[in-house]
Every structure is written in C-alpha cells, then in structure tokens.
Symmetry: C3
Subunit: 250 residues, 3 copies
Amino acid sequence: MMEPYVKQKNKNGIGYIEFFHPKHNSLPAHLLSELSRTIINAGEDDSVKVMVLQSGGDRTFCAGASFEELVDIENEESGKEFFSGFANVINAMRKCPKFIVGRVQGKAIGGGVGLASAADYCMATKYADIKLSELNLGLGPFVVGPAVQRKIGLSAMSQIAMDPNSFYSADWALQKGLYTKVFDSVSELDDAVTVFAETLCTYNPKAMVEMKTMFWRGTEDWDMLLTQRAKISGRLVLSEFTKEKLRDYK
Amino acid sequence: MMEPYVKQKNKNGIGYIEFFHPKHNSLPAHLLSELSRTIINAGEDDSVKVMVLQSGGDRTFCAGASFEELVDIENEESGKEFFSGFANVINAMRKCPKFIVGRVQGKAIGGGVGLASAADYCMATKYADIKLSELNLGLGPFVVGPAVQRKIGLSAMSQIAMDPNSFYSADWALQKGLYTKVFDSVSELDDAVTVFAETLCTYNPKAMVEMKTMFWRGTEDWDMLLTQRAKISGRLVLSEFTKEKLRDYK
Amino acid sequence: MMEPYVKQKNKNGIGYIEFFHPKHNSLPAHLLSELSRTIINAGEDDSVKVMVLQSGGDRTFCAGASFEELVDIENEESGKEFFSGFANVINAMRKCPKFIVGRVQGKAIGGGVGLASAADYCMATKYADIKLSELNLGLGPFVVGPAVQRKIGLSAMSQIAMDPNSFYSADWALQKGLYTKVFDSVSELDDAVTVFAETLCTYNPKAMVEMKTMFWRGTEDWDMLLTQRAKISGRLVLSEFTKEKLRDYK
C-alpha cells in the first residue's frame, strides 16, 4: 500500500500541490499540517504564479478527517487541535496571495468539501459528488461551514449539512457554484486544469493579488472564527453520542 | 366552516406544529402570536427533538396576513403591532434551538413565504408556488424580506418582491434554495417529511443546537431589524394608496 | 457615424435613460459622468416614477470602459478618476430612490456587467452574454465587483472574473440571478420592459422607496468602497503589463 504524502511539483509557473492517503484520501493531522505548510510556502515562492490543489489516486478526492485519529481524542484541547487541521489549510488557502485552482477527480466528503470550497476556481469530474457527513458522527461541518457557505450559499450548505447520509451530485455542486465545470473523465479534467492554470500564468500577477483579496473580502476574521469552530467540534467529539458512533466504526 | 387553530402533536420525538385558518390559511394577529408561543414552548420542551411546521387543509400553505385585520388598522402603533406578528414567528423559529422542517403542501404568499424561508429545511409539493404580493397592496415584504433573502438570495428576493402579481413555481423556488425537495403529491411530501424528521431525531442533539446557531449566524440583530420593518409596514398601511386598495378588497 | 450621447425620454411616468457610443457602447469618462448626472436628476424629478436604463443600437449593450482613454492614463490620480466613472454610475443607481429596470439587448462586458447588475430588475435578450474581461488587460473587475457579486453571488462573480476571455451565456446569467427574464428578440424585450415598468408605476411610490432601501441594505459603504476600488484599477493601469497590453490594442 502506498504511503501517505503531500508533495509539490512545479511546472510552467504552476505549483501542483498533491495530497494522498491510502484510505480514500482521509487526512490525519500530520498531513493537514504538511498541506498548510506547503500552501504557505508556495504562496511565498516567486517562481510559483498559480497553484493547483489536487489529490492522488483516481477515486475519492478527499474523505475528510481521519477516523482513526478521531477515536483517540481524549480531551477538549486535543479535540480542538485536531479540528484545527482543516481550519489551518482553509486559512492558508484563503490568505495565499495566489489563485488556487481545485482539481476534484472524485467524491469529496466533509473536510474534502471544505478544501474544494476554499479553492478560488474548482473543476471536477462527474464522479465528484459531495457529502457533509459530520452530523452522522454526532459532529457538524463547523470548521468547513464558512468556506462551503461562501461558495454555495446558506441554503445549499445547510441542506447538505442536515442530510449527512446523502451524496449530492457533481451537477448539483456545479449548479450551486462549488464547481465551475464538470467533465466526463479525469483526463479531460486534467487537460482543462492545465490549460486554465497556464492561462492564469499569463495574466498580471499584481491584478491577481488584488482580485484574490477582493474575492475573500469579509473573511478577515476566519483565523479566529475557524478556531472557535474547531473548539466546538473538539467538544462534541467527546460527547457520549460521538464516542459510541466511533466505536461502531472501529 | 372549520375554526382557525394552532395545534401541536408530538410523535416519535417530533413536534408537529400546525396552523389553520378557513380563509386559505391567512393569519390574523391572534393566530400568529399563538404560533410564536407554540414554537417557543416546543423549543423548550425536552421531549421534542425536532419540529415540523405545517398548515391544515390541502390547498394553500399560507396566504400571509389576514386582510380583514389590515383594513382595521388606524394608527402607526397598531400597524406596527399587527406586522410584528410575522416578525415574532420568524424570530421564534430563528432562535428555536431545534431544527424546524417546513412542510409546504400548496401556495405560499407574502408572510407564508417568510414562514417557509425561516424553516431550516423545507420540503414542498409541486403545487407550492410562491408570491410576494405585498407591493400590490401598497406595502412591501419588509418583515419577511430578510428571511426570504437569507434563503434565496438578494436577486431572487428582489425579483419576486417587484413582481407582486406573479406566482413563481415550486421548481423555481427549489432551484433558488427555498425548497430542498419538491414532490408530486401531498402524501409523498408527508412520507418524506416524516422520514427526514425521524432521521434527524437519531442525531446528536448537541450537534444540532450548534448547527442551528451556525446556520443563523449574522442574524443576531433580527429582533430589532424585523421590528423596524414592522414599523415601515405599519406606516405604509395607513397611506392613502393602501387604504384605497383595501377598500377594493372589502 | 453617430455621435455618442446620453439622453432621457419620459413617457407614462417612466424615465427612459439611454446611452450610446459608436464603438460598441464603450463608455468614455464624459459619457459616464453624464450618465450619473442624468440618473441623479431623474431620481429627483417628481414626474419620473420608475426608470429604465438602456443603450442605443441593437448589438452590444455596453462594452465597458473606453480603451482609448485607458491608453492615455499617465498617473494614479487620473487613473483613479477614470475608473471612478463606473463607480459613480453604480452609486447613482444604488442611491436613486426609484426602481431602475435594466434593458440589455446584447452583450455586456466589464463595466457593462456592472450596469446590468446595479439595475434593480434586469431583463435581456438571449444575445446578452456577459464577460468580465478586465484581467485580460492586467486589471480586474474591482469597481464593478461588489455590484456583480451582490447580484450573482461570490462564486459566479469570481468564476467569470478569473476567466476573462469567455462569454457566459444570457441563460447562465439568468440562472445566476443577473437577469430576471431572457427573450428571443429585442422587440419582445421592449414590450416586456414597457409593461413591467408601467405596472411598477401603478404601485405605491412610498412602498417602492422603502423596498429600494431594503434591497440595497448593507451597501452603505460603497461610496468609499468603490472609490478604493477605482484607486486599485488606477494603479494597475500604470503597470508595465497593462501598458504593454494596451499598446497591442492600439
């Protein structure tokens, strides 16, 4: 079985940042912090003009947080720390002065929907259904909620958050604004992502910095907000309800 | 002819709250305040885990405010009081710590669209067209505006508010996010509402309280805002324009 | 070739405000300031109950800012001044106490999308595709961004802003809420605009003033915001990148 990783490959001014975990690209804390760090560094690297966020494998884009680590959380502090993982990645994407293009080859679940939402422009395949499954575990999409709502609106975000066992189709996500385009195959997606990112590289970098700021206007309090949200999840993960659910999954 | 009522029936942890008025479920002040009270009480009742808001009869879900009472308003104070009726129901739904599922079997007009919008998750039949008819009477959807805009966005809200004689289809309301699902018949709607609400009852109540707070973030000023809006309507209802219109309806 | 103009014709209580420029209705500074002035005056004219914003010719609705003037900008101050042109029109539309109905007969580009967005209700033909082309010139839709986002949401606004060489169809703009109706021909559009505006004239003017205020709630800082945005564009237009692009177009 392949080892988990976060890696970056630069080509033609584009920084392709890829994460991978053998369990459906579910992300444990150490991968999330590596991902944040990689995004922050690429943001500061002058040779990188545009970034692409993608994951390894040709199935699930990202299954959210790692269950195995959820089970081991024993107090509010470590709960908060764990859930800050996605908060940090989202905040790194938000504050990155470069456009980030999302490439979603397959299903996105929980935190995975958050990553897709935090991309500035996100393309997907028709297999890229989405689900906010957190409530199913006695939790909620607290950390990713603001990013998801910002992209698809309050109605759509709350609808899927209250329906944690249903996948919503890639077409639905397209209609709601999460995806900008949906392709029939991964190879078509890859071609489109490359063309789009390479085209972005030809534009005025100063204009893109200002546009990024404009797009994220009104989210200046997210460092604090997402930390508060991580606290909520960290508290709930200790509830009897969630403990029991997690035992079922073990 | 049946008497108007607000009643509550609890089953399997779900509080079904139902209002009825023989005139197309148009709501006079005393029904609105009973409805607010019932929602507040159900919110505090530990045996109720999830709430369903529905109306009696198999035609109109709610035709908005009662015309008969509108005619009798003679000063700004009683105008404000009258229009505070819907404000109070919406605020009760907003502050209720439990999820409220809307069940919309037929047309929703004016304040009725506000009630559907204030539900956290709202299902409907294909007969559940919507109309914001207030401007037709020389008024506007001031009190329900914030709730409607929160659900369907500024564009859709302003579009229907400026077009007070047109019904917008249930499918349009689905596309704009007011409804989450639209069914062919009332019985299918009822089945879906029951299954959905009963499923919600199996989730972590603490997580749902936090999610409800998250969904309504940014509406903390609505006690004041909706009261200001009720004042605007209360002033306009005394205008010559509206007085005349109401005479026509008499 | 016809001369550029801004003119106003009043009929049945409706103020039809029309702008025209022989180069695809691209707007130089003096036309933009005439347009602002005309809108402000019509807003104060008691004989005008409702306004229609339209352009001359049967092709492009508005191609945005005039290239010729862009080329001549030589310092930040005149850059800011130039880009304040659209800011002033949008702010005039926003603060106008009357409803403004947009009539978009053909393509809207850059600032043209801003004008369509700032209308309170906007109808179009199926030829009225939209494009935010600013990034192509090393700029961005900074001034019109808030108006466009208010109407079609963050996702759709950022999508087209990052894709400056693509037209998005009138149907797409309809779905996103920019247009309320899309017609097959200009004559059908004209009929619908007239009927809609004349119907508005029959409503309570006081109610419409209050509704206009409600629709634009939360934009009270746009006098300042759009000026800041004009400064950003004014600075970018002096960048080497943009200077070079503009030379290509010369």
